[in-house]
Each structure stands twice: as structure tokens, then as C-alpha cells.
């Protein structure tokens, strides 16, 4: 789950869109033509000035009322009328220009709104001083809000309670800082949990205390990711089940050992009783052994179940050497059948790592079977498993075989899916091994040995253990 993330990488598209929408709000849009106009047209000012001068001249003519001046008065009157006409025309033109501008702005706002709606982008803003938000229709639709204004609390109300306070906190912080944030939050919807990604632009130079941003619905994206994770999980599980199939008899052997002990003990007991050979100390020992072996059989079944169960990733602190030891027990019989000598040189010290024991066992099984397959048909095939410490500090596991090695052209694509050199291989063993290693924050690599065969290496970060 991703919560609120400060300074998380922002996509270029989101950035571009947000710079466009950064300071658009209904309020600022309404006042835009006036604030944006660069004063009244010069023509109107000039005609007003001329009219004022003419009015003064006309007034002078009235004061002196001289016959000789009648021509002057008439002239001034005509000029005055003309000036008034020009003034009226200019005023009309100004009104038209204003109307056109207003139309242009409305159109562009409409275009932006439409584009945002078509792209499914919700726009919003918040003023810290008045604690009011505004939002477009798409925003309301995405968050399932009814009112397109209200307090920050109203805006955050549809969010999951766990994300709500963090989101509000981030928005409040944004009102103080000129920065950008992106955060993903869960939504509580009737149809289930939704996911949204907010983009938050902090206070701008133009408007202090103003936060604006966008929001997109990423529920589908999240569901796809979850689905992909599920599929990967199923695949890991299926290949593990496949591995168990390969182990076949070996696992049966694991179970048959305690069953053999139980049966023989019970039948020995039966005979002792029949022959009235009642040595109570011996009988107690037999019964105690039967119980112990039963527990052992149950443990084998439990282990088998855990390998078969499509369980979640269970991370725990474990010793890599234990994983190696348990896996070797598991493959021991299978390797005898395949006539592969398998040996192990484990580091003497513990190699504590964090991981899922089942997945790590699957990883090692994959590598061992790969090695054994690489030597199929060879006489005297050998697998050597070593563990030690390398720089990092990391726990290092190496599986070395004496097989045919890896073709140079395959070596580079070794961990890609569906690359298989086996006749019956699907080519998923190594990609899944790599997926397992990556989920353990480790590295996996392969190389051909100087002599013959190949070695697969795995490095997993060592953890500090409390003494």
C-alpha cells in the first residue's frame, strides 16, 4: 500500500497539466477579463479629453454671448456633437472587445474543463485562510462528494480514515510551501475500496495560502497490479507444486521412515505381549518411540502442506544454512536415484537473513534440479552447495555442477521467462528464482566454471542479530 509520499516522482504529464490548472479557480476566472485588461482603450481616453476641452470652449461661448462669436459657438457645438459620437462609438467597441475576451476566457475554461473531464482528471483547490475548497464536477464524481465546496475536512471525508489525516496534514503543509506533492489514498466506496492519486501544488507566488491540484482514479490500476501480483503468486505456487512432483519419491520416503518405525515398534510390542515377555522398561521405551515417530510423521505432512499451500509471503529471521540443510534432506533420495552426488560445504557461522523459508527452499530446489538436469545422463555428476559471507554484508549461496555449462548466448537471457534448454522445460524455474531473490532484496547470477559445468550464485542481505 502506498500512503502519502512526499516528493515522490511526478509524471511529466501530470506536471504539465498541473501547471495549466495551477491557479485556475472559479473566483479568479470570473475576475480574469478585468484584471487581465491593460486599462481602457487609448482612443476612448483621447475622445473624452477632447470632449472636455470642447465643453469648456462651449461654456466660454455661452458666457460671452457675443454676436460675432455665434459662428464660434456653432463650430464648437458641431465639434462637441462629433466628439460625443466618437465617444459613443468607442464605448460600444470597448464593450464588444470585452465581450469577446470574456467569451475567449469562457471558451478556454470550457476547453480545460472538458479536457480534464475527458481525461478523468478532477481539479480542486483549497484556501487555508477561509478553510474552503472548490472542485470541478469530475473531482466530485471521483470522490463521491455532493457539494462542490466546503472545508478541508469535508473534502477528505470520503478517504479511508487511515489516509485521511495524513492527506489533510499534507495539504495544510502545502499551504505554507512552494512545492509539489503526489500521494495515493484509499477511498471508501459502497462498491469496495477505491484508490486515488492526488497531485498537490503548494502555495504560489501569486496567491499565498492557496493550494491547488488534481486527482485521478487509480482503482483499476491498483486492481491490475494486485491481479498481477496474484498471478505471480499462483505461478510461484504452481511451480513449487511442480517441484514437489519432481521430488516425488523423496517426500514419500520422508514419510515412510517414521511410519516404518511405528509399524515395526507396534508389531514388536504385539509379539512381546503375545509371548508374555513383559519387560516394562522396554515396553515404555517402545510406546514413547511410537509417539515420537508419530509426531515426526505429522511434521513431515505439515511441511508438505506448507509447500503445497499457496500461502502468503511469511518473512522471518532464519539461518540460510538451515534452509540448505532442510532442502538437502528433501532432495537426498531423488539425487541418489538420479545418480548425482550432492555435497555441501556450509559456513560454520550462522547466516541470518530475513525471508520466507518456503520460498527460499523453492529457490534452492530450483537451482539443485537445474544442476541435476544439466548433468542428466552424465556419469559421476556432482553438485556442490556452499554458503559463506561476502561483501555487503551478504549471505552467499553457490550451487556448482559438473554439467555441460551454459551456452554463451543463453547466459545473458538466462533469467528471462520461457528460455529453456531442456526438452521438457517450460523455462519458468529461473525467472521465478530471480523473482524470489528480488523479493528478498537479493541478487542472483550465473557463470560457467573454468573447468566444466556452471555455478549459480545468490546473495541475500545479512541482518544483525541480537547477541
Amino acid at each position: 500500500m502506498r500512503g502519502l509520499e512526499k516528493g515522490s516522482p511526478i509524471s511529466p504529464t501530470a506536471k504539465a497539466l498541473n501547471s495549466v490548472f495551477a491557479h485556475l479557480s472559479p473566483e479568479s476566472l470570473t475576475f480574469l477579463p478585468f484584471s487581465a485588461g491593460s486599462g481602457l482603450p487609448r482612443r476612448l481616453i483621447i475622445s473624452l479629453l477632447i470632449t472636455a476641452i470642447l465643453l469648456c470652449l462651449f461654456a466660454l461661448g455661452e458666457i460671452f454671448k457675443t454676436e460675432g462669436l455665434s459662428a464660434y459657438r456653432d463650430g464648437v457645438a458641431i465639434l462637441l456633437t462629433g466628439s460625443a459620437a466618437v465617444m459613443t462609438l468607442s464605448a460600444a467597441q470597448l464593450a464588444r472587445v470585452n465581450r469577446e475576451r470574456e467569451k475567449l476566457v469562457r471558451e478556454s475554461v470550457q476547453h480545460i474543463t472538458q479536457a480534464a473531464r475527458n481525461a478523468g482528471i478532477g481539479l480542486w483547490g483549497w484556501t487555508a485562510v477561509r478553510d474552503r475548497f472548490w472542485a470541478n464536477a469530475t473531482f466530485l464524481e471521483i470522490l463521491g462528494l455532493q457539494q462542490n465546496e466546503g472545508t478541508l475536512e469535508d473534502l477528505a471525508a470520503p478517504l479511508d480514515p487511515e489516509d485521511r489525516s495524513r492527506f489533510s496534514g499534507l495539504v495544510r503543509e502545502a499551504a505554507q510551501k512552494r512545492d509539489e506533492w503526489e500521494c495515493e489514498c484509499r477511498l471508501i466506496r459502497e462498491s469496495g475500496t477505491g484508490w486515488v492519486r492526488f497531485h498537490i501544488n503548494g502555495a504560489s507566488e501569486i496567491e499565498e495560502d492557496q493550494v491547488s491540484g488534481s486527482v485521478i482514479d487509480i482503482t483499476a490500476q491498483h486492481e491490475t497490479l494486485a491481479e498481477a501480483a496474484n498471478l505471480r503468486h499462483s505461478l510461484t505456487h504452481l511451480t513449487r507444486v511442480g517441484l514437489l512432483g519432481q521430488l516425488g519419491g523423496a517426500l514419500a520416503h520422508e514419510l515412510k521412515q517414521p511410519l516404518t518405525a511405528i509399524l515395526s515398534n507396534a508389531q514388536a510390542l504385539q509379539r512381546m505381549v503375545e509371548h508374555e515377555d513383559l519387560d516394562m522398561t522396554e515396553i515404555r521405551a517402545v510406546i514413547s518411540d511410537i509417539i515420537q515417530d508419530d509426531t515426526r510423521a505429522a511434521a513431515v505432512i505439515q511441511h508438505l502442506r506448507s509447500l503445497l499451500k499457496p500461502g502468503e509471503f511469511h518473512s522471518q529471521v532464519l539461518d540460510l544454512n538451515d534452509i540448505v540443510r532442510e532442502t538437502l534432506e528433501l532432495v537426498h533420495n531423488e539425487m541418489i536415484t538420479r545418480r548425482v552426488a550432492i555435497s555441501c560445504a556450509a559456513d560454520e557461522a550462522r547466516l541470518p537473513v530475513t525471508g520466507d523459508p518456503i520460498q527460499l527452499q523453492q529457490l534452492l530446489l530450483n537451482l539443485i534440479f537445474n544442476a541435476a538436469d544439466a548433468m542428466a545422463g552424465d556419469k559421476g555428476g556432482m553438485i556442490l552447495i556452499t554458503t559463506d559471507r561476502i561483501e555487503g554484508p551478504c549471505a552467499h549461496l553457490a550451487v556448482t555442477d559438473t554439467g555441460q555449462g551454459i551456452e554463451p548466448d543463453v547466459l545473458s537471457r538466462l533469467f528471462e521467462p520461457f528460455i529453456s534448454t531442456k526438452t521438457q522445460g517450460v523455462g519458468l524455474g529461473l525467472p521465478i528464482s530471480r523473482a524470489i531473490v528480488l523479493s528478498h532484496k537479493g541478487r542472483i547470477w550465473a557463470q560457467n566454471n573454468p573447468g566444466r559445468g556452471a555455478t549459480f550464485h545468490v546473495a541475500l542481505p545479512l541482518i544483525q542479530e541480537k547477541p
Binding site: H253, T260, S264, D293, I336
Partner: protein, 208 residues
């Protein structure tokens, strides 16, 4: 005559609890057992002169049961082996049987199956030992013959008469007759037919 020893059952399994349980079961049926957790320990402690059989697990860590079988079969006195297996691998069982295993039992093994197999193995071992002992005795008799007597014996078993033997070996008939008498005496037989049977048995044992 070598004094008859009680047969021993050698149980080899690297699983301690299985080993103890098998020992108990065999003991409860009246068998004397010796147990070994490691095939190597068994090999170093193994006395081929002790009669009895071995019950061996096929899938062991240090050395597989099949390899152990190969080692055991190298000696002059092969030990009858009953294999126990946890996995039913046909290839391994075929290999084991071909190499002379008496039985190949799947784990978990019932007492009846195991005890019957052990009884049979002990019987097989006893017969084999008796046979080996007899052959040994016959060989000793044969080895007490001089080179000339052995040549004469080879001729006798081919049904040749003293006259023919004497001619072939370039000796007089009377000497051939003396040799024949010595051969019959040393080989402790009264008839040529008995001598022929001994020759056949020695030949068979020699081939083995």
C-alpha cells in the same frame, strides 16, 4: 567340522528410530541382531564368517545400499541381503535384484514379510555356507593330490581306462592303476561316478 554359530541379522539404516524399531521387531521374533547406523561402520565391522543375513536400507546418506551391496559381494562369502526401500524406484530394485539381493521390501514393512524374508535369507545363507564348506573340503582333498595324480584324475573322470591313461601319460599301466587307487583314496570315493560329481562341483565352484 567348524562349530555351528547362531545366525546374526545385520541391520543397516541411517535412521536411528527405524533402526531401533527393526532391531526390536527382529529380537521379539527371537533373532540375534547387530545394528549399524552407517554403512561404513558395518563394512569395517563385517565378519563374513558369521552366518546370517543383512537387512539394508537402500537410500542412505553416506553410501547407498546398492554401493554397499557391491562391496559386500566382492568377498568370497557373499552375504544374503534383504533391501528395504522408502521409494518404489523400479530401476533401483531391478539393479539390486540383479546384483543378487534376496528380497526388496517396501517401507513400511510388515512383520510377516520381513520375518519371512529373514528366515529365508538365513536358510539360504546356511545352505550356501554348507555348500561352500563341502566344496572347501573337496578342494582340500583335491589339493592333497600330486600333480601326476591330478592328471590321472582328469583322465578318470573322462571315463578313460588305465591302459589309455598309461598310454597318454607315457607310463606303464600298473603305475596308472596305483595312481587311480591313490586318487580314489585321497578323494574319499568308491566309484568313478562319485568322483565325476566331485569334479563337476569343483569345476562349478572354480568358475564362480
Amino acid at each position: 567340522m567348524i562349530p555351528a554359530q547362531a545366525p546374526q541379522i545385520f541391520v543397516v539404516d541411517d535412521d536411528p528410530s527405524v533402526l531401533t524399531a527393526l532391531k526390536r521387531l527382529l529380537n521379539s521374533a527371537g533373532f540375534s541382531t547387530r545394528t549399524f547406523l552407517s554403512p561404513l561402520d558395518f563394512l569395517s565391522a563385517h565378519d563374513p564368517d558369521v552366518p546370517g543375513c543383512a537387512v539394508i536400507d537402500v537410500g542412505m546418506d553416506k553410501m547407498s545400499g546398492i554401493v554397499l551391496q557391491e562391496r559386500l559381494m566382492l568377498g568370497a562369502q557373499p552375504r544374503p541381503i534383504i533391501f528395504l526401500t522408502g521409494c518404489d524406484d523400479v530401476r533401483v530394485s531391478v539393479q539390486a535384484m540383479k546384483a543378487g539381493a534376496l528380497d526388496y521390501l517396501s517401507k513400511p514393512v510388515s512383520d510377516q514379510a520381513l520375518l519371512a524374508a529373514v528366515e529365508q535369507a538365513i536358510d539360504t545363507d546356511r545352505k550356501a555356507r554348507a555348500n561352500r564348506q563341502e566344496v572347501e573340503e573337496l578342494r582340500r582333498r583335491y589339493e592333497s593330490l600330486t600333480l601326476r595324480e591330478r592328471e590321472v584324475m582328469a583322465q578318470i573322470v573322462r571315463g578313460r581306462l588305465n591302459k589309455q591313461i598309461a598310454f597318454d601319460l607315457g607310463i606303464v599301466e600298473k603305475t596308472a592303476k596305483v595312481h587311480r587307487g591313490r586318487v580314489m583314496e585321497k578323494m574319499q570315493v568308491r566309484s568313478v561316478a562319485a568322483l565325476v560329481r566331485i569334479a563337476e562341483r569343483l569345476e562349478q565352484a572354480g568358475e564362480k
